[in-house]
């Protein structure tokens, strides 16, 4: 077995394992920190797939942004001193059953589907290419994304701001 394969399985195990922790952990802090593992693992997978820029974005935004936000939210809404911070989950067995069937179906379908095959498999840096596309073909989405972020910004302000005095 090649080293790459071993590393792949390792990363896959980390990703899936920490994702499972997120899903199953009874402690929300544990969940939140496990999410870190998932995000990192996914970033590593991106590297495996030759998507260096995406991997970087993944680390920057997910790990640096979203995860911190989530942790803040957890802190703000829970007393840290509480030994066992509840992360209540209910109805696991039926959920497991449904999800199990679902996953089975997904995997079966994935295996049977003849996916499109690329002519060549590239392992070149993608940053420049992506940058070009952002200012070329994908200019509109790129600009639109800025609007989305603006809206999100305003939205976060609107929702968390105190109300107007009459």
């Amino acid at each position: 077995m090649e080293l790459a394969t071993v590393i792949f399985y390792l990363i896959a195990a980390v990703t899936v394992g920490s994702a499972a922790m997120v899903a199953f952990s009874r402690n929300i802090i544990h969940s939140a920190f496990s999410l870190l593992g998932t995000f990192a693992g996914v970033a590593a997978i991106y590297v495996f797939l030759g998507a260096d820029f995406v991997a970087a974005v993944q680390v920057l935004i997910y790990v640096g942004g979203i995860l911190v936000l989530i942790l803040f939210a957890v802190m703000l809404t829970h007393r840290i001193t509480d030994v066992r911070i509840t992360n209540r989950a209910v109805g696991r067995i039926p959920a497991l059953a449904v999800i199990g069937v679902f996953l089975f179906l997904l995997v079966q379908t994935i295996r049977e589907t003849p996916w499109q095959k690329a002519k060549e498999i590239l392992y070149s840096p993608t940053t420049a290419k992506i940058g070009d596309l952002f200012l070329g073909n994908y200019l509109l989405p790129f600009e639109l994304a800025s609007l989305v972020l603006l809206a999100a910004l305003i939205g976060a302000v609107v929702i968390s701001r105190k109300e107007l005095k009459e």
Partner: protein
């Protein structure tokens, strides 16, 4: 016509104007003291954009921005529709007691952003654009829903909406990723071409569609993706509920038609669409349509809250709208387009009355409507009756013509679709029951002693009058609108 980025700008006026207005609002919010003016500015922006959109009528259709969006009659139709909805909702918001404590600047900004997002939903020709625009609309919708500060219902609704939206869009992009994987492209046209010639695994295609449908369905509000809507509609401020129930619904339809019809099917003879082999799209939608209208109507039966009832009725109407998609032909689509316009008018009208009553009494439950007609609010009561009967589908109101087209499309197709028509009929009858219950409460029950008088502002009266006259007018003379709907079916792509 396939335009590059800068060339595209001259066909981009409606969006550009709207974007400009949004930015202007953000700036003016900082400067202006009298925030009421912002509403008028937003309205003016919409009007300007509307003008620009109408100016574009007759322009040769084509791809803009490197195949990102499409300019065609279909997208123009929906743009006009969204602008009308936004305009009306802005008019409603100007005098809404619920929104007194809301920061107007942000409110209108977000509202217009949402409208802009819908523009892109109707015109996107790329999976990425579709996702982006859908998310834009979703995010702004969460904000609008939760815009009432320190309001239990509003915040709760926003939270539910958020979770729902997150899951739905996640599911949708998962589905989209499969489509991407199967075709190697994000562009509708190329996806369509690839699917038509390539070896397609029916099962994975179907699964991808089902996932994508979760995203669209949650916007259109059809079963089983409908369950958020009653809670959200009830919790959101009334103008926003009106906006969501009409514009967001229409945007969902637009994106769905845009995605499934021109992209994933090809035009057959006599204006019918042939769908890809192996995806039992009609059967599936037929079933969904039946379930949706039935569930919506049955749940609406016993609602005590009028807003919630209208939410369920919205679900039922989503079911009726699906009838038009089921038959997979231009007849059906024309009916859908027609009905969307009509639905906009009557549903907005109904919510306007709900708002007027809530303004005066602070109540949204049915008991607040006791003897409305006899409490100085004869005009809102009569208008409400008109809107509700129109929603039922009674002539001479516009809702009848809309339903008529839908039925016509279905009946014409014959066969198993007749079953759908019969189910729809039974549903109409059921729906009459709960609509008539509101009418009954307004007219047949006499006000309890001490009930508040209901008054309304002249602007509301004018708006009501306009909407109800339009409802009747379109019920009697609907040729032009039908023509407009027909005209809007000229897709550029394929």
């Amino acid at each position: 016509m396939d335009l590059r980025n800068f060339e595209s700008l001259k066909f981009f006026y409606p969006e550009a104007i709207l974007t400009g207005t949004i930015l202007l609002l953000v700036l003016l919010d900082l400067v202006l003291r009298r925030k009421e003016i912002l509403g008028y500015i937003a309205g003016a922006g919409c009007l300007l954009s509307l003008y620009a959109a109408v100016e574009l009528f007759g322009a040769r259709g084509g791809w803009l921005f490197q195949h990102m969006i499409i300019l065609d009659n279909f997208s123009l139709f929906f743009k006009v529709l969204f602008l009308l909805a936004a305009l009306l909702v802005i008019c409603m918001s100007l005098d809404c007691h619920e929104l007194r404590r809301v920061h107007k600047g942000e409110y209108y900004t977000v509202l217009l952003t949402s409208t802009l997002g819908m523009f892109f939903m109707a015109s996107s020709s790329n999976l990425l654009m579709a996702y982006l625009s859908l998310e834009l609309v979703s995010l702004t919708s969460y904000i609008l829903t939760g815009s009432l500060p320190h309001n239990r219902r509003s915040t709760e609704a926003a939270l539910k909406y958020l979770i729902y939206g997150g899951v739905s869009s996640g599911t949708m992009i998962y589905g989209m990723s499969w489509v991407f994987g199967m075709t190697g492209s994000l562009d509708y046209a190329r996806i369509g071409a690839a699917l038509l010639q390539g070896e397609v695994n029916h099962l994975s295609l179907f699964m991808a569609f089902v996932f994508i449908l979760a995203g669209f369905g949650y916007k259109i509000v059809f079963a089983p993706f409908h369950m958020w809507s009653p809670d959200v509609y009830q919790g959101a401020p009334t103008p926003i509920t009106a906006f969501l129930s009409v514009a967001s619904n229409a945007a969902g339809l637009a994106i769905m038609i845009r995605f499934f019809f021109p992209a994933l099917s090809r035009l057959g003879e006599n204006g019918s669409w042939l769908f890809l082999q192996g995806v039992e799209w009609p059967h599936f939608l037929l079933f969904l349509s039946m379930v949706t209208m039935t569930v919506g109507n049955l749940c609406a039966l016993n609602q005590q809250n009028v807003k919630r009832m209208l939410a369920y009725s919205g679900i039922a109407h989503a079911g009726y709208l699906l009838m038009g998609l089921v038959v997979l032909n231009n007849d059906g689509l024309r009916a859908v387009l027609f009905y969307v316009v009509v639905y906009l008018i009557m549903n907005l009208g109904a919510f306007l009355v709900v708002m007027i009553v809530a303004n005066a009494t602070g109540r949204e439950d049915l008991d607040g409507y006791h003897g409305l007609a006899w409490r100085g609010a004869a005009i809102p009561a009569v208008c409400m009756a008109i809107f509700l009967f129109s929603l039922t589908g009674l002539p001479p109101f516009a809702g009848f013509v809309g339903k008529f087209f839908l039925f016509a499309a279905v009946i014409r197709q014959g066969g198993m679709f007749v079953l759908l028509a019969v189910v729809a009929i039974l549903n109409s009858v059921i729906s009459l029951y709960y609509y008539a219950r509101v009418v009954k409460t307004m007219f047949f029950d006499f006000p309890q002693p001490g009930a508040q008088e209901v008054e309304m502002t002249p602007s509301h009266a004018a708006l009501l009058g306009f909407l109800s006259c339009l409802t009747i007018f379109l019920g009697v003379y609907w040729g032009p609108l039908a023509f407009y709907a027909e005209w809007s079916l000229r897709f550029f792509v394929r």
